[in-house]
């Protein structure tokens, strides 16, 4: 096994010592590049009160290459497709090595607060979002209730 770059070690330490409110990210024990992530739905959005599970993987070229992030929880959102893939600029061409796991997850959370149906990944959701925003938001709330409900441990 290649040794883990200092950057990943330090980022992981800092995520634990200084966590981001509403977001958790914990590395797998057997693969420290793979993180279990939870993101709370932002207040005022159709995803409010939802806890969404995501997976985050740091590729070999991280931080020169963006982390790979995917929703595991089903979500109704124009920029997130059925496989949980996310259409977000900072995960693609606008990735910068100065960004971090922390900032990427904050961007994902912000995407929940402000969906962009004009740059869709899930075309059917985007169409619905443009044609009947209230209905789309109601579906999003329904899905949040159904799939992303807070579970008390």
């Amino acid at each position: 096994m290649a040794s883990l770059p200092k950057r990943i070690i330090k980022e992981t330490e800092r995520l634990i010592s200084d966590p981001v409110p509403g977001i958790t990210a914990e590395p797998h024990e057997d693969n420290l590049r793979y993180f279990n992530v939870t993101v709370e739905g932002p207040a005022g959005s159709p995803y409010e009160n939802g806890i969404f599970q995501l997976e985050l993987y740091l590729p070999d070229d991280y931080p020169m290459e963006a982390p790979k992030v995917r929703f595991l929880t089903k979500i109704y959102h124009p920029n997130i497709d059925r496989l949980g893939r996310i259409c977000l600029d900072v995960l693609k061409t606008n990735w910068s090595p100065a960004l971090q796991i922390r900032t990427v997850l904050l961007s994902v959370q912000a995407l929940l607060a402000s969906p962009n149906p004009n740059d869709p990944l899930a075309n059917d959701v985007a169409e619905e979002w443009i044609q009947n925003e209230a209905g789309a938001k109601a579906t999003a709330r329904e899905w949040t209730q159904k799939y992303a409900k807070k579970v008390e441990n």
Partner: protein
């Protein structure tokens, strides 16, 4: 699916202006409107071929040798240093990711226009004493450790690395194409092993010299840093915001927002791969397929600042005032701290004082250290032009067959002798066009997709 929202591109129509070839691209498109075939030909011939030409004719072995020479340039040598740093990277990032022009970077470092590559510390503790710092620095190698065996090369035979020729390792029963693939894989596996050996050799030499210098009976090695230099370097270091490693200062600074970046991270910042501009897509319609797009639209923007995302990322560097050792300075072993060490640390410069002293400093971009970026873009464009020329030629060939019949019939009507047209001293534009079209079709038939050798041949012919 999988579309990429490049907000900057969408909002900023100036991406075209960033592309130095945009005018040329427009011109080629206009020509194409006049004559499909000749336009496509010129696109293939003129804009890219002239640049690429000289590279095409080199043999595989020559190219392999070039790659090996380049790789040698990336080995750190303890006796090639500038202000306590080196001319080659420690190895925070992998071998494959070092695609910059090593000669240019070495020159920039020697001229103190770019911070040298320093050996990083994983951590730094403010409470360390001078003795502790010196001890830690003494234990540093020149290179980070690499994995001896990569999974990727597990089943690749490398043979005797000291022998230059490895033709005997190639399985001759394979198809030509697979032989080429195998050759390139073996070459890469061998180069990987060689790089590790070269690095180990330099690390061993460095260690030997350090051990020898401990013996007071020996002449001191002037290339090894003095204790004062080791202390001065690392006492005033800082963490690079990208690799999170602790390095001696001063670092390079972004021109736009005055943020620090170490040289090892800077050389990793490069243009994105050539791509088509991202377009807003109407979710109700289908996006055009890649192969339907004009290859001349293929673009690559200069890297943006990793900190503030301003396009055309550039850095500048102010060399330290407290030390000038190695190339263009005193030998590293002779460095002594003259003043109160805390007094003149360049790190304490405010952004304002820094930008003031930057006046007249050189500005380095990721294109400065990769002068071949345009060549690579043109190569990619040429590849796509070839592909679309093939498609166009096949498409036209049907129409050509019809029009050729037409022309022949007309010429027999106009001239009593069917031979007379052959004796025409100057061919007409139409005839040239026909010849070129035939040539395009011939090439396209020859140039079956995926067969690189044939592609190469057809290019040299064009």
């Amino acid at each position: 699916m999988g579309n990429v929202p490049t907000k900057a591109e969408q909002n900023d129509p100036s991406w075209r202006n960033n592309n130095p070839n945009s005018n040329e691209a427009k011109r080629t498109r206009n020509r194409r409107a006049v004559s499909l075939v000749s336009g496509a030909f010129r696109g293939n011939n003129g804009s890219s071929q002239s640049n690429v030409g000289s590279h095409r004719r080199r043999t595989t072995k020559e190219r392999e040798q070039d790659k090996e020479e380049r790789a040698k340039q990336l080995v750190v040598k303890y006796n090639e240093n500038v202000d306590g740093g080196f001319l080659a990277p420690f190895g925070v990032y992998g071998f494959d990711k070092l695609d910059y022009d090593a000669k240019i970077v070495k020159t920039l470092i020697k001229e103190r226009k770019l911070a040298p590559f320093y050996t990083p510390l994983q951590d730094f503790d403010e409470s360390w004493t001078k003795e502790e710092i010196i001890k830690i620095v003494d234990g540093l190698p020149l290179h980070s450790s690499y994995e001896e065996n990569l999974e990727e090369f597990d089943d690749v035979p490398v043979g005797n690395i000291n022998r230059r020729n490895f033709d005997d390792l190639i399985d001759r029963t394979l198809s030509k194409k697979d032989q080429r693939r195998q050759r390139s894989q073996i070459f890469r596996a061998r180069l990987y092993k060689k790089r590790i050996l070269w690095q180990e050799k330099e690390d061993e030499l460095f260690l030997e010299k350090k051990l020898a210098s401990r013996n007071p009976a020996n002449e001191p090695d002037k290339f090894l840093p003095s204790d004062d230099l080791k202390y001065d370097l690392y006492k005033h270091g800082s963490e690079c915001p990208i690799c999170f490693l602790y390095l001696p200062g001063p670092m390079n600074y972004s021109v736009c927002c005055q943020q620090p970046i170490c040289t090892e991270c800077f050389v990793q910042i490069r243009r994105a791969e050539a791509h088509f501009p991202h377009e807003e897509i109407d979710p109700t319609t289908h996006a055009p397929r890649e192969e339907e797009k004009d290859p001349n639209l293929l673009t690559s923007e200069p890297a943006s600042c990793p900190y503030c995302a301003i396009p055309d990322f550039s850095i500048s560097y102010i060399p330290p005032t407290s030390r000038r050792t190695g190339f263009g300075g005193i030998p590293s072993g002779m460095f002594t701290i003259k003043l109160e060490p805390e007094a003149d640390t360049p790190e304490e410069m405010t952004p304002r004082s820094r930008s003031k002293s930057l006046e007249g400093a050189s500005i380095i971009t990721s294109d400065t250290i990769r002068p071949d970026w345009e060549l690579k873009l043109n190569k990619e464009r040429a590849r796509l032009v070839r592909r679309s020329t093939n498609a166009t030629a096949i498409h036209i060939s049907n129409r050509l067959v019809n029009s050729a019949h037409m022309t022949r019939r007309e010429s027999t009507q106009d001239n009593h002798s069917s031979n007379s047209s052959r004796h025409t001293p100057e061919p007409t534009a139409d005839e040239i066009e026909n010849v070129m079209m035939e040539e395009a079709i011939r090439l396209s038939l020859e140039d079956s997709p995926g067969d690189k050798r044939q592609k190469k041949r057809s290019q040299t012919m064009v």
